[in-house]
Every structure is written in C-alpha cells, then in structure tokens.
C-alpha cells in the first residue's frame, strides 16, 4: 500500500516536471513563431507580387492643392500622393486594395485611411478588373504642420488564397500579413517623372 503510494507520488512528480517541460517547450515554440523576422526590403522600382495584386510604384509627391484627383482635401492641409500601377491578378473584378499599402507613421497618422482614386478619370475606389493594369493614386492627409519629407516608408500587405475557408467552405483571400517594406522618394510634384525600373 505504502509502496504503491510512494511510486504514485514519484510518478506524479515526474509527470509534473514533464508537464512543465512540455509547457516550456510549447512556450519556446510559440516564441519562435511570434519572433519578428525582419521584413524583406523591396526595391521601389520593381514589380511587387502580393498574390491578388501586382504593384509597381510610379511616383510620390506632396500636394497642397484644394483637390487631388477630384478628392476634396482638408483646407490648409497637405496630402501625400502615391501613384501606383495595380494589376488585378485574380479571376474576378475586385476592390480589395484598401489595406494593401500602409504609409509609415512618421508622416501619416496610421488611423487615417487613404483615399484611393483611379487616375484615369478620378473615380473614387472603383473595382479593378482581371489582367488590366490601372494607375491608381493613394492620397494620405499629412499630419498638421508636418514638413514635406524627402522619402517615406511603405509597408506592403499581402493575403493568401484559400479555396475553402474554415467556416463556410467558400473561396477567398484571407490572413493579411506584411510582405515587405520599401522606401519611396518624395518628388517635387504631380509633373515629376515616374520611377524607372
């Protein structure tokens, strides 16, 4: 009786240590998983493939005009305009581009969303169609009183295609994750030349 109690106690002790070790291992694994790998730095003059979209940054500038591509800007404020060539690589028309580009927080308040405009005729955020590159302008309101920067950082977000999601089993683009960062020089104005590859 006593013998069995002792062996059980031992077993429990060892089991406890084992559990602690397992939890520690899981923690280490989790820590590895969460470890921030440095994001790849992308070249501004390149085609950036993020699954749904193919992006090619064209030019960036700061404007103090009242209108930028038909959008009314905050009076007295300045706006950072980034022109990008975007190609929809999916099989369907889509406007899933609102979270694709995130400007660095040094120039833009991260809480403000950019206006996104088709430069061709200043249509506000239209659907873009498969396999047809379009020039789009991302327009961020600059922080009040911010100086015009020489360049700014941009984080590119990509999503992953799942033929069937977990809940309903429908196809779609999920799990936005940063794909890389790039630094874009800020040019003189709307008339500046495009970045050449």
């Amino acid at each position: 009786m006593l013998e069995s109690a002792r062996s059980r106690l031992k077993a429990w002790t060892v089991a406890g240590i084992g559990t602690a070790a397992a939890i520690a291992a899981a923690g280490v694994l989790g820590a590895f998983g969460a470890r921030h790998e440095p994001l790849p730095v992308l070249a501004p003059a390149s085609q950036i493939d993020i699954g749904e979209w193919l992006l090619r940054p064209l030019k960036a500038y700061v404007t103090a005009e009242k209108y930028a591509y038909g959008t009314l800007l905050k009076p007295g404020g300045k706006a950072l305009v980034l022109e990008v060539e975007m190609t929809n690589r999916t099989a369907k028309s889509t406007k899933d581009y609102f979270d694709v580009l995130q400007a660095g927080s040094t120039v833009v308040d991260p809480a403000t969303k950019p206006f996104i405009v088709l430069t061709r005729d200043s249509t506000m955020s239209p659907e873009l169609h498969p396999g047809m590159p379009e020039r789009m302008a991302y327009i961020w309101q600059l922080r009040d009183g911010a100086a015009v920067p020489a360049s700014f950082d941009l984080t590119v977000i990509r999503k992953t295609y799942k033929p069937r999601d977990n809940l309903y089993g429908l196809p779609g683009w999920f799990n936005p994750t940063p794909a890389g960062t790039l630094t874009i020089p800020v040019g003189a104005g709307p008339a500046g030349a495009d970045i050449q590859p």
Partner: protein, 192 residues
Amino acid sequence: MMRKSANIVLLLLAVVFCYGLQISKPHYGDLIGPIPARGKLADTVVGRAFEVHAEKIEFARKLKVDQFGRQKVLTTGGVWAVVTVAFAARAESTVVSVASWRGPTGLTYDQTERLSFMNGLLPVAVDPGLPRKARLIFEVRPDQANNATLLISEKLVAALDSQAEISLGPVTITADGLPGGAVDTLDMAEPL
C-alpha cells in the same frame, strides 16, 4: 513480380481517379450557387423573377458620356463592351442589379463602376408588364471578348435563385488586337 506491378498500377489508377473525384466534387459554393437560365444573344431568357433579352453588343475604345451637363470622354485599359438589353419583370416588381461578363477562360468582369452617374445602367427597377431597356457596360481585356457569357442576376448573392447566362457568341479579333467592329468612340447620349 507481376502481381506487384499490377498492384502499383492499380494504386496509381486509384490516385488518379481520386484526384478526379476530389477536383470535380461540388462544394458549398457550388451547391448554393445561382441556377443558370441559359440562352443566346437575341433570345429571351426567362428566369424566375425577370426575363432578359440581349439585343446587341458594341465595342469601343472610348465612351462619350454626359456628366452633369458636361461632355466627358472615358478611356479604358482594355476595351469597352456595351450590351443593350431589355428587361421585364415576371410576377412581381423587382430590381435587377448585378451583371458581369465572363470571358472564354473564366475571367469575370463586373459592370464598370465608373459611370455610376449615368441613367439606364443597373440597378434597374422593372415592373410586370412594362419591359424596360438598359445598358450594361464593361471594361474587358480584348482577348476576353470572344465567346463570352453575360451573367445577370437580381442580387449579388444569387443563392439558388436564377441567373441569366447569355452566350454572346464568337467575335473576331482584328490585327490591332481589338474586337471586330469596334468603334473609336461610342456616344452614350444616344437614346436606347
């Protein structure tokens, strides 16, 4: 040895067969998808809630439109495809709001959102006994013009409701890469 290789062949066949089953099995999206009501250009396609009759297709490089009294010329990265259709409601007043252009390789082009200010585009309210014409305007890649299908439904999610599928037939592509008969500028001010 014979038996072994026969087994391997059998297993391979099973793998191929299972792959076939796996990719051809309809899933949730297919099961609750729209039910097609098929037809050709100039047919009257009868769905559950509405009938549609596609009269003609025109292709153009540019569109001339009237925006709040001002003339405007709209360009596109591909080619404009304008389909003139007539709708009629069946038992109940309804609103037809979604149309898309499916190319021969399955690329699907929704109706353009760049002309939302114009009259005669979707969404269109139709009443029983009162047919109504409308224009469906798409921007498509020229290589998607040939043998395309027009998909028209009342709502975006046409779960198990009818969706008109109109095959638009062959379109020749000329040497400059444009669909045959494409005009340079199409005037949208012309009455339907």
